[in-house]
């Protein structure tokens, strides 16, 4: 999506079109911190200004911790600062690993390897070159050099100070700024080009640890010198990456700079403002992409010779369908989380409609201008809620066969936050090795035979009964009533509650207390990118009790979490994390 040079772009095209995406808008955003634009001379950097941090970075009392930006956060940070016309090439850094069910927690343990550094440097060069492109420089850099062939420290200094604030999510200290200006100066002299100097300095910022990682500074909690909390700028970043999946905007940085963000009233104001921003959609999407394991689509294989309707388009649309459904239910319609499991409302493309076997308006089938259209499944349709969507069904199957075990495991682990033990070694699969055995035509028959083995029974009792209810959907997510000619029995149970088929399973999942508890816990862990402490777990339990009566609504959940002071504390001894899931 390239709609101009707006800083504050949002995800959906419809919302995007409503925003001011002009160059003027970008300039207005930068003007939100007027002092930064005032400093056009080197002298300005040395004088005290509003942009000085509340607690100076580098104070001996502070300590640092690092969280690597995700590829998506990197891309958005660049687009937010320089506009969406700046093209960010595909970022191939390691996706990391899951910890406590979330990539967000694993990310806290990541560093940057050699091959990844090579990519970041290439990206930095490419982005910086685009920023000083003759078509953009006047608008993005904001000052004209004295000569195209020479360094211009004043112009460069003003620009680097301005963008440094957004890139590092804190003001750039004077001594730091001098280094970047010196880089510009040296490079411009060596290459006889002002632009080359600017590319060097900007790319240096873009490969600096302060940009590639979210650097968290901590400070003692007032009145409790033994306890640590995030400083104001780090608090702004935590809020912003949690709610928006991107770097703080000017207003949030200004609240950090003034110290208001450290007050309950100032925090409240910012949280209210942020939750009304269209950028909330980004945060919601990023969270559910992580929680539902949609990174798995990068390597998902479904055999298209066996499932010809599972086309490349279906693969590309699958997670987007679920994310659109979630955005519509939780943000647009402000419904509670449980509704995701029982809603009939969704969005379809022609490819998905073909797989689901439902008609779309003719204009869509012929290729409408917008491929997505709202669709509501009839009340008696087996499709209900996000569990019946192709994203969940295909992601948790084998390439050529459905799997009640994988689907049940995903339900337990992703949506109920439970742990299913790995299969033991030395498993004897001889009873069910032949999928064409006339005695075991359906997955239920094969697994029932398999689970009669004592060593296997324990885990399969946990996973399979939930997964059986989804057996009316094959690997590709298409509906079926029989497997190998044998009618499918879609009965199952969860926590002693029996059900039959998708509709009843959906209701049971919606009503299970563990469903909302899981969301609340995951959201909190996702925001702090660590496991909750004992005190935090107690608070989360009480929050669930409190919110549970009316159902958990997204904005309210975000508000409660971000207004809780513990959300910004820094545990002195980080809790140990459990094993990462493979």
């Amino acid at each position: 999506m390239n709609t101009g040079t707006a800083i504050g772009n949002v995800i959906s095209q419809t919302r995007m079109s409503q925003m001011k995406t002009s160059a003027r808008f970008l300039q207005m955003r930068l003007l939100q911190l007027p002092v930064l634009l005032a400093g056009v001379s080197l002298c300005a950097w040395a004088s005290p200004s509003l942009a000085e941090p509340v607690q100076a970075a580098g104070d001996p009392a502070t300590s640092l911790s690092f969280v690597r930006l995700t590829p998506e956060q990197y891309r958005r940070s660049i687009e937010d600062v320089f506009g969406s016309n700046i093209r960010v090439k595909e970022n191939k850094v390691s996706p990391g690993f899951r910890d406590e069910g979330l990539l967000a927690l694993g990310t806290r343990k990541l560093t940057i390897g050699s091959a990844e550094m090579e990519q970041y440097e290439e990206l930095a060069q490419d982005i910086a070159t685009q920023v000083v492109d003759p078509n953009r420089r006047a608008m993005l850099v904001g000052c004209k050099p004295k000569s195209e062939q020479e360094a211009d420290n004043a112009c460069a200094g003003a620009f680097l100070k301005k963008v440094g604030l957004y890139l590092f999510r804190r003001p750039v200290a004077d001594d730091e700024l001098q280094l970047y200006v010196a880089t510009q100066n040296d490079a411009a002299q060596k290459l006889h080009s002002f632009n080359a100097g600017m590319i060097a300095a900007l790319s240096q910022m873009l490969v600096a640890p302060e940009f590639l990682f979210r650097v968290e500074y901590s400070e003692p909690v007032p009145g409790h010198p033994d306890e640590q909390r995030l400083d104001a700028y780090s608090r702004a970043s935590r809020l912003s990456f949690f709610l928006w999946d991107s770097a703080p905007d000017g207003e949030l940085l200004a609240a950090a700079q003034s110290g208001k963000l450290l007050t309950q009233e100032g925090l409240n104001q910012q949280v209210q403002r942020m939750l009304l921003s269209p950028r909330t959609e980004r945060g919601l999407r990023a969270f559910f992409t992580d929680m539902l394991g949609f990174d798995g689509f990068a390597t998902l294989t479904v055999d298209s010779t066996l499932y010809p309707k599972f086309t490349k388009n279906v693969l590309e649309d699958a997670d987007e369908q679920t994310l659109r459904t979630i955005v519509d239910q939780l943000l647009v319609k402000n419904k509670s989380y449980g509704e995701l499991f029982v809603t009939r409302e969704t969005f379809l493309t022609p490819s998905l409609a073909a797989l689901y076997g439902v008609p779309l308006p003719r204009s869509q089938e012929l290729g409408g201008a917008v491929p997505w259209v709202a669709y509501k499944f009839p009340d008696n349709d087996p499709r209900i809620g996000i569990l019946s969507q192709v994203s969940f069904l295909s992601l948790n199957s084998h390439p050529g066969t459905s799997s009640p075990t994988l689907r049940g495991k995903a339900l337990r682990e992703k949506l109920l936050c439970q742990k299913v033990p790995p299969p033991p070694g030395n498993v004897d699969f001889s009873l069910v090795q032949d999928v064409n055995n006339p005695k075991f035509k359906t997955a239920r028959q094969r697994l029932t035979a398999h689970a009669s083995e004592a060593m296997c029974a324990g885990c399969h009792k946990i996973t399979d009964p939930m997964g059986f209810a989804l057996e009316n959907f094959d690997t590709s997510g298409a509906f079926r009533t029989a497997e190998h000619g044998e009618p499918i029995d879609a009965s199952g149970s969860l926590n002693g509650k029996a059900f039959n088929g998708m509709q009843e399973l959906a209701q049971v999942v919606k009503d299970a207390p563990g469903t909302t508890a899981c969301l609340i816990n995951r959201a909190y862990s996702y925001g702090t990118q660590r496991k909750p402490t004992k005190d935090e777990r107690t608070w989360l339990t009480s929050l669930q009790t409190e919110l549970g009566n009316d159902g958990v609504k997204w904005r309210e959940l975000m508000r409660r979490i971000t207004l809780n002071a513990d959300f910004y504390t820094v545990p002195t001894a980080p809790p140990l994390t459990a094993r990462a899931e493979q």
Partner: protein, 447 residues
């Protein structure tokens, strides 16, 4: 090269080690090269050794791949008969195992982890410096790329290479992208008559030097838990500085270096034909990069250890097949699994032959390489940690004898990693932790 020089290295390794790590630095490049083919005829400069890893998932069919005899007169069993053309340059190791020492078997993880790092961790989130990094630090410091990692199944997470404790090196999955990285605009042909250091690259290097200079200030403030990660970040910055420094130096002419034909298309996927094609493209690119001195270390993975490899039209992928396919009572094995395992052995043959096809004087690129081929389970069907099939190909420039089958019943599989380290000049007497600590290399292979 004098006899004295040759002997001194072996004497050092045999006489000084005594089972403990020693810190005797052994010169690599001048003293131990085979006079037949590991030096340039034109300049007399030595060709450095190469280390590569080649991972395939789900092992081989037990009882069907182990030769009946050991030594250099063994016969290749039918299951791996495809390797016959490279038998003379191959070593085959049987009978070894990975010890769990009471830890949970992280299926499809612990076995490969141990062979690459020497340890088995308690959880799947712990990993540490891998064999390729250890060797890369020793033999590959002056190349443009520290190492090259690729995976042939489209999954970047398919890698067993890591430096430090915080993150594995992701694999490149696109041959098109690898071509651009290796032979794109920044490639300097070592045989080109023209060479002028590019001032733009000098500037890029200065940019990184400026970043690296922040290290001290940041390291003073960082919390203890994050210090290692930050240090690894700065190591990566230094690696890139080094890479750019190499690009600023006039490269030595390399007669065997040629730029491979440009890759026009790719078809990344998990069907056997797709994986074969991707592997073939990667093999060509890596071989040319090695021949042109762009790197001395590579890591190839056929794909995830939960192998998604699949025969066209077959509903079930390889990993699932290992657990669900019936053992044919007449044949005594899982026929589809065997077929897929043999396909992978054919891929291995192709990789080794690709290296062997590039001539360097009287020898070949393979001759100065050691390629370590390993897998995740001795018997994938049962997640067995015993009887691992392991191969090495190439003599590392005459440092390892080849053509042998070595049976090491019940020994730690880390013996192979230790042997390679010693062969390539790392003066360590042991490698690995707990029961997986190997102190006994395959000394019969060491020259």
């Amino acid at each position: 090269m004098s006899a004295h020089e040759k002997l001194s290295r072996r004497q050092v390794l045999r006489g000084v080690l005594g089972g403990a790590a020693v810190s005797v630095a052994l010169p690599m490049l001048e003293c131990f090269l085979d006079p037949n083919g590991t030096a340039y005829a034109a300049t007399g400069a030595s060709l450095p050794p190469i280390f590569g890893t080649w991972f395939w998932g789900l092992g081989l069919i037990p009882d069907h791949w182990e030769p009946k005899t050991t030594g250099d007169k063994y016969e290749l069993p039918e299951h791996i008969a495809v390797l016959a053309p490279i038998k003379a340059k191959l070593n085959l190791y049987s009978g070894m195992q990975v010890f769990l020492d009471g830890k949970v078997n992280q299926n499809h993880f612990s076995g490969a982890q141990c062979q690459m790092t020497g340890m088995v961790s308690r959880t799947g989130s712990e990993y540490t410096t891998s064999l390729d990094s250890i060797l890369g630090n020793h033999i590959g410091k002056r190349t443009r790329f520290r190492s090259i990692e690729v995976s042939c199944d489209g999954d970047r997470k398919s890698t067993w290479s890591a430096r430090g404790a915080n993150g594995m090196n992701p694999s490149e999955v696109s041959p098109l992208a690898l071509y651009a990285r290796l032979f794109g605009a920044d490639f300097k042909d070592p045989n080109s008559a023209d060479f002028t250091p590019d001032p733009a690259i000098m500037v890029r290097r200065s940019v990184l030097t400026g970043v690296a200079e922040q290290r001290k200030a940041l390291m003073m403030k960082v919390s203890a838990t994050d210090r290692t990660r930050l240090d690894e970040y700065f190591s990566s910055v230094r690696d890139l500085e080094q890479q750019l420094s190499v690009e600023l130096e006039r490269p030595s002419p390399v007669p065997s270096c040629s730029v491979p034909p440009k890759i026009e298309s790719e078809d990344i996927g998990t069907l056997v034909d797709q994986t074969r094609n991707t592997h073939r493209q990667f093999a060509q690119l890596i071989a040319h990069a090695l021949a042109c001195g762009q790197t001395q270390v590579f890591n190839m993975a056929m794909g995830s250890s939960f192998s998604p490899l699949r025969k066209p039209g077959e509903a079930t992928a390889y990993h699932q097949l290992t657990h669900e396919e019936r053992i044919d009572p007449q044949l005594g094995y899982q026929p589809k699994c065997r077929w897929l395992a043999e396909q992978q052995m054919a891929f291995f043959l192709e990789m080794v032959q690709t290296l062997d096809s590039i001539r360097e004087g009287d020898a070949t690129l393979l001759d100065r390489s050691v390629v370590f081929a390993y897998t995740d389970h001795g018997e994938a069907r049962l997640h067995s940690m015993k009887r691992y099939p392991v191969f090495t190909a190439g003599s590392g420039g005459g440092r390892m004898k080849t053509g042998f089958h070595l049976a090491a019943e019940g020994d730690a599989a880390t013996r192979v990693g230790l042997t390679i380290q010693q062969a390539l000049g790392i003066s360590t007497g042991s490698w690995g932790t707990e029961t997986n600590r190997a102190t006994k290399p395959f000394s019969e292979l060491l020259v």
